[in-house]
């Protein structure tokens, strides 16, 4: 049988589909089969409470992911920048995300990465920051007007108090699967609810 692709609707369609399907299967179906850490974890992973799940919905609906990634890449610069005091943040690993029904790995850092933000700031700080981000953080007093405060995060003052509390509860869980923040005796810190 002579296969004359250019004259046949069937052959063009079938060939285009098969060539596509090879790559599609090998990059979407095969990875979770080869690498179990994409969907299962050997280590304990935090189960979200109802309040935290509501916080996840707020996070999604407000589109936080478009400015904040949630992945410490395997790069010294990421690990230093998003560390705590003098401790470097451990790189994110796939098993940490297995309970995230909504992934927020993100592609753009207009704001800082949030993968290890849990416990770094008090919940009161987050409250004030959501109300007006430009009240918190550094100022540049030698600059004028809109240049004085560099943060360009939108104010989330329109959220209800409950929503801000839910969102904060979720933020405080981020990164705790690795229990990387320890006190002077080497004991894991448990100050997330503060």
């Amino acid at each position: 049988m002579k296969i004359d692709v250019e004259h046949s609707l069937l052959w063009t369609a079938v060939a285009a589909f098969i060539l596509f399907a090879i790559g599609a299967v090998l990059t979407t179906v095969v990875p979770p089969m080869v690498d179990k850490t994409l969907w299962a974890s050997e280590y304990p992973v935090h189960e979200y409470t109802e309040q935290e799940l509501r916080g996840i919905e707020v996070y999604k609906s407000q589109g936080c992911v478009y400015c904040h990634t949630q992945q410490i890449r395997k790069l010294a610069s990421d690990q230093r920048r998003y560390g705590w005091r003098l401790v470097e943040a451990p790189a994110s690993e796939s098993w940490e995300y297995v309970n995230d029904k909504n992934h927020f790995l993100g592609t753009k850092r207009t704001g800082p990465d949030l993968a290890r933000v849990g416990g770094k700031y008090s919940s009161e700080w987050h409250w004030a920051h959501f109300k007006n981000p430009r009240d918190m953080g550094e100022k540049f007093p030698d600059r004028k007007g809109i240049y004085e405060r560099a943060s360009i995060m939108p104010s989330f003052a329109y959220l209800s108090d409950e929503e801000i509390k839910d969102l904060t509860a979720y933020l405080q869980t981020l990164g705790r699967n690795k229990n990387w923040r320890v006190d002077e005796n080497g004991q894991p810190l448990n100050d997330y609810e503060l």
């Binding site: 250019e6 004259h7 609707l9 063009t12 060939a15 285009a16 589909f17 060539l19 596509f20 399907a21 790559g23 599609a24 090998l26 990059t27 979407t28 979770p32 690498d35 994409l38 969907w39 999604k60 609906s61 589109g63 936080c64 992911v65 478009y66 400015c67 992945q71 890449r73 395997k74 790069l75 610069s77 230093r80 920048r81 790189a91 796939s94 940490e96 995300y97 297995v98 995230d100 029904k101 909504n102 992934h103 927020f104 790995l105 993100g106 592609t107 850092r109 207009t110 430009r134 550094e138 540049f140 809109i146 240049y147 560099a150 943060s151 360009i152 995060m153 939108p154 989330f156 329109y158």
Partner: protein
């Protein structure tokens, strides 16, 4: 039903959505410099950003491509559209789904899928209208009066087959309850990248493969290169999704595979580009750049070269360390979707609108002016984003810089983006005015010369 009603509807709707998308883009750019503008929930920065991408991708670009192809396909295949009624029904369902989807995004009802934020049930409606489009494409090819399938038809067939699976994977399968975490991220990036690679690239290239030889009245430079371009892209594009997670928490081998295939993309792209430039080079010198259509096609192709060299470059692990997650990526995405594929789509619209209206384009001069403003504004628009991306990437390397320091350094770049974006916005209105005048304006009704030849 009157011939070409579907094409006309979709071209008109897409032209209007283009303006809406650019408005959202300009508002996003403004919020980057003055964050307190428009501080209400429905117009908060992330919502406007989601609207900008979704209206651009689905309201403008996909719809414009489908509308132009509804006109082109029957002409190449020497037949009528398989079903004009199905085409119009599809246009109506699609636009209703889009409007409801955009309203949902504004209200904050979204999926966590980049480029696929439109939630259920409206994404299912979009999939339904896509199936209606697929039936029409296959039907039109099946009832053709010529034996030979031209390159444009291959790309269209490829796009409709691939996109069906890409769209379902990204929007439906990724939301299944057993899909979570990094596995979900992998499916979604498969969708995000292939939205560009397997929807807009083949549809845009399909339109250019028809318009360039037709407009220049010159046969396509090389048939062999067309074949290489098409068959290689259908094999290599789909592998590249994981290059969005380089250095990230996904399997190392998958990242390497994505990087290697990002590089192999140079092959099909260079084949296509050589073919396009070769055709331009062979065309009669005196007339080949007359009017806005060949200019848009030429500039689109130039941007296509740069986008597709930039892509593999930024997939290199060492380069990715600096450019990834910065403004650089935004510049790259704009060059692909605005620089290349929106230019092709505008060329397509300038080509089909006079045919649909049955008379010449209202003003070639206005078209030229729009082209020049858009081109002269888009070069600094992209460049300033790359420059600020590199500044940002290197600033992050130094732990002495606080995050706000690194953000404060970009203020001037963001002002530049707003300014050049504003010029593009102004040029859009020239485009809109030209299209509206051609359809509805009162001017001398002189039928387009080429209309008789069709």
């Amino acid at each position: 039903m009157k011939q070409d009603t579907a094409a006309k509807t979709m071209v008109m709707a897409s032209t209007i959505f283009f303006g809406l998308a650019l408005t959202m883009g300009l508002l996003t750019a403004l919020k980057f410099v003055v964050p307190t503008v428009g501080e209400i929930e429905y117009l908060s920065l992330p919502r406007v950003r989601m609207l900008h991408t979704n209206i651009n991708l689905f309201g403008w670009l996909l719809q414009a491509n489908m509308g132009v192809l509804f006109w082109i396909l029957p002409r190449i295949l020497h037949t009528k559209l398989f079903s004009e009624k199905l085409g119009v029904a599809m246009a109506v369902v699609y636009n209703i789904a889009l409007l409801c989807g955009f309203a949902s995004i504004m209200l904050g009802n979204v999926k966590n899928v980049e480029y696929g934020e439109i939630p259920a049930p409206f994404d299912y409606l979009i999939a339904l209208s896509w199936v209606m489009f697929v039936i029409n494409v296959f039907g039109t090819v099946a009832i053709r009066k010529v034996k030979y399938l031209y390159v444009t038809v291959w790309y269209t067939l490829g796009a409709v087959i691939w996109t069906t699976f890409v769209y379902i994977t990204g929007n439906m399968l990724s939301q299944m309850p057993m899909v979570a975490g990094v596995n979900q991220a992998n499916l979604i990036w498969f969708y995000v990248h292939n939205t560009i690679g397997l929807i807009f690239t083949p549809l845009g290239v399909a339109i250019a493969y028809y318009l360039i030889p037709k407009q220049l009245d010159t046969p396509i430079y090389s048939h062999k290169l067309s074949m290489i371009g098409f068959w290689v892209i259908s094999f290599v594009y789909v592998w590249t999704g994981a290059h969005h997670m380089i250095h990230g928490p996904v399997s190392h081998w998958l990242q390497t595979v994505a990087i290697i295939f990002s590089f192999s993309l140079i092959i099909p792209v260079m084949a296509v580009i050589t073919n396009f430039f070769g055709t331009f080079a062979a065309a009669p010198r005196g007339t080949r750049m007359q009017g806005p259509i060949p200019k848009l096609l030429m500039m689109g192709t130039v941007y296509y070269v740069f986008t597709c060299l930039q892509g593999p470059f930024q997939a290199i692990r060492a380069v990715n360390e600096i450019t990834s997650k910065t403004d650089w990526v935004v510049g790259h995405a704009h060059m692909a979707l605005f620089g290349t594929f929106s230019f092709y789509a505008m060329a397509g619209i300038y080509y089909v609108v006079p045919k649909l209206a049955g008379r010449k384009l209202y003003s070639d001069k206005l078209g030229d002016l729009q082209f020049w403003i858009m081109t002269i504004a888009s070069v600094p628009f992209f460049a300033v984003l790359w420059i600020s991306g590199v500044i940002q990437g290197f600033a992050w390397l130094n732990p002495e810089n606080t995050f706000v320091d690194t953000l404060a350094a970009l203020k001037h770049a963001h002002w530049m983006r707003f300014g050049t974006g504003g010029l593009i916005y102004i040029a859009y209105f020239l485009f809109l005015y030209n299209v509206l005048q051609t359809f509805f304006g009162k001017y001398h009704k002189e039928p387009a010369e080429t209309a008789a030849a069709e």
